[in-house]
Assembly symmetry: C2
Amino acid sequence: MTEHSTAPRSRRERPAKPALTREGIVATAVALMLAEGLPRVTMRRLAQELDTGPASLYVYVRNTAELHAAVLDELLGEVDLGPAKGDGDWRGRVVAVLTSYTNVLFEHSALARAALAVHPSGHNYLALLETLLALLHEGGVPDDRAAWGVDVLLQTATATAAEHATRGEAGDAEGQRDALAAMVHDVPAATHPRVAALGVELFTGTPQERLTWIFRVLLDGIRHTPRT
Amino acid sequence: MTEHSTAPRSRRERPAKPALTREGIVATAVALMLAEGLPRVTMRRLAQELDTGPASLYVYVRNTAELHAAVLDELLGEVDLGPAKGDGDWRGRVVAVLTSYTNVLFEHSALARAALAVHPSGHNYLALLETLLALLHEGGVPDDRAAWGVDVLLQTATATAAEHATRGEAGDAEGQRDALAAMVHDVPAATHPRVAALGVELFTGTPQERLTWIFRVLLDGIRHTPRT
DNA sequence: ACCTGAACACCGTTCAAGT
DNA sequence: ACCTGAACACCGTTCAAGT
């Protein structure tokens, strides 16, 4: 009897379709991304997850790029800002925070590429920015260089994650890496002496090893190189 | 009479449909990209341009990513390697070559994003690599640092171009930049003192101004920072 | 070996119409 | 104001079948 007591309360799905809000949409998008990867976080797929049509999402989200940016900022909440308050060398603490940032992007690889495209602007990104700027300030880096420097540091981390992104999820970068390696291997010393001389050296090191070196290169350079 | 002389010679289109070759496909892809932008360089659109079906292209091209990589390498032929043989400071010459590289990517913006995804491996990329390695060698940069350093230099240039890519072609990054700028403007000094202190400083400078500073930062850092 | 038609399984975004 | 059905204009990739 209670099953279909009144008319307007028509057949509804099990999990009591929740009202649409930007928050709910983004949360669902994050869950979907964790479960199936960013490429599956499309307007249509997400709408289906929310038991509605894609057009409905456009009330809360301008487009797919903005949706991905929101997902990205949400994930930036996983970055460990703790090391910033440690008491070791400030440079080591900058590297620790950036390494945590990189690891988050590495785990959710496709997001790194999105990060380059959208320039995140959520509050988690802002917290990261603040943390890094405070450390550079503590290290005595002049404001004008810190302002530009923090951008390069994050960009380098992001780009490195983006480059090594395809390996896991879309799985076809492997072949491309080999293509370059093979080309470098076969290069004649007569036309390309330096490439031939360095050879495999060009491909040594894990992304992490390379990154920690690069972070130090940047911190050194930022401290020593005046602007203008 | 000659119009339809024999039967097998059926109605054919004006530009005498050329035989498919990888070269021809890539050349057409480049032309299409120059005319309509990279987002239009799809398998289907390209096949249409070549007067065939998309399936035919898969004989010569593994997938869309590889196609874009080939287009990218072709465009890398526009990079001016001339400055490398000048006689000024080697650092200035590195910056000149990298600036040319950046300009090419800036003009064909969407390619920059592709460059991060595919790690180009054509012969034009190889020539660029050789040129930069020779300059670093000339500058006395140790081999192990040159090997990793050249990668960072190119990555930074590429990532910067990729970030500022959307502005022109897809045209929606503008709004996102403003979003971050607005957020930074409204940030309370109590919770985010450094962000508040730097304020607009975070957004000053053209990409080119920033890049030339960054290139010097990197060259300085690479010279002074040992590996391990 | 090379080429193709047709199909499968998707996309983003807009818009007129409803509530 | 919010939500939706339906449509428009596309995608990448595979595969059986032809030449």
